[in-house]
Symmetry: C2
Subunit: 210 residues, 2 copies
DNA sequence: TTGGTCATGAGGCTGACGACCTATACGGGC
DNA sequence: GCCCGTATAGGTCGTCAGCCTCATGACCAA
């Protein structure tokens, strides 16, 4: 789980991005700050793997904050205007995006900079290739070993298909096989019944309850 | 469930807000558009109860779009700069906020304009009072009739406490009482077992799996 | 006082669930 | 060729879940 902090004085943007990252299975927002100095103070008491920073904040200097924290916490700059890229690079940011970027690309960038990449040093194809490598969320150790068929069982379970009979009908297999898959799922996810498995499936992002 | 469409050319903002509204139990984003004309086209094929519109979009005129759709779909303007309030009101917007507004307030505004209020006609205390009336999400009919104790059972269930024994221990009541509460919950939520009840509890926002 | 709801508790019944074991077929790797 | 993981399927067995009815005390409103 990658811990993210957000610095942006537009609360609606910060809350929305926070929810969006929380919906991903491998990222979690552990704090937000409305200004540069607040960001520095936040990171002093709340460790995080990466910071997402808007340069245009009413309450303080974003570039100065990046200089202070950039050495210990990689910074991804996300801003309205794109002419600040050079200044962000000079201050030590690891990546730079406009707010027009798709969420999936920001998520890939988060994983990439946490892995140690400096995206601002890359250009064009190198950048695209690096981001492509990090498109997929890193699943929990347990979830990572689930087979395709087990994931299908979990997805049905998380949609409210709970009885063995309905699961079997939905997957066109016998009830015995469903039970075998469930037993395997329980073992891999360290749970003991299908209710816990459904909750865990939703938590891991393997399936949505909606 | 209130269906919301978002018009904003900053994809990250639109996706974040979409996720944030999806996390609320009574709102859902059914479409996004990057420009005014796209918004008009979107609403022509996708009905919605309310539109959230940013006035500063690269691809088209937000004000013109509001004039076209404002009569049929109430519009909440959410923008970076606040000097456009008068123009938004003239075009027929129902509400106006900066992007610094907390999500909870935007959610209250969504519920208020769907109920027919014109927030732009209100000032100061009247506005605060109206928004305060809509702070609480309107729960599903089934969920609305749940008792406090039944909600507590559901919250434990959605956290992965699935066995009757653990539920009884967690609530300091007998296993028999837990079974009785569960039977009542199944009936009210129109589900047939605790797995479906847990999924439904997460979907309704009564509890979070995290 | 009466009636309603809520939270609590109980007994009995039936079927489903979960644990454990076995087995076949089909892959890919060594 | 052999082993291992996956998907499939079957069997047995003990436990537990879900459903039925019933009862009690607290609380509140008509």
């Amino acid at each position: 789980m990658i811990r993210v902090v957000i610095a942006d004085d537009h609360q609606l943007f910060a809350e929305g991005l926070s929810q969006a990252l929380a919906a991903l299975p491998d990222t979690r927002v552990v704090g937000t700050a409305p200004s540069g100095p607040d960001l520095v103070a936040l990171l002093a008491r709340q460790p995080a793997e990466v910071a997402i920073v808007d340069l245009e904040m009413a309450g303080g200097d974003g570039l100065q904050a990046i200089r202070q924290i950039g050495a210990t916490t990689p910074v991804i700059v996300v801003t309205m205007h794109t002419q600040m890229a050079a200044a962000a690079a000079e201050a030590g940011a690891a990546a730079f995006f406009s707010k027009g970027v798709p969420l999936a690309q920001l998520a890939a960038a988060i994983r990439a900079v946490v892995a140690g990449h400096k995206l601002l040093d890359l250009r064009g194809e190198d950048l695209s290739a690096t981001l492509a490598d990090y498109q997929q969320p890193e699943l929990d150790p347990g979830a990572a070993s689930l087979t395709q068929r087990e994931i299908e069982v979990l997805q049905l379970l998380a949609k409210g298909v709970s009885s063995t009979e309905e699961l079997a009908d939905g997957l066109f297999i016998s009830q015995k096989t469903v039970k075998n898959h469930l037993a395997s799922i329980f073992s891999k996810l360290a749970v003991s019944d299908r209710t816990q498995a459904a909750v865990e499936a939703i938590r891991l992002g393997l399936a949505k309850p909606h």
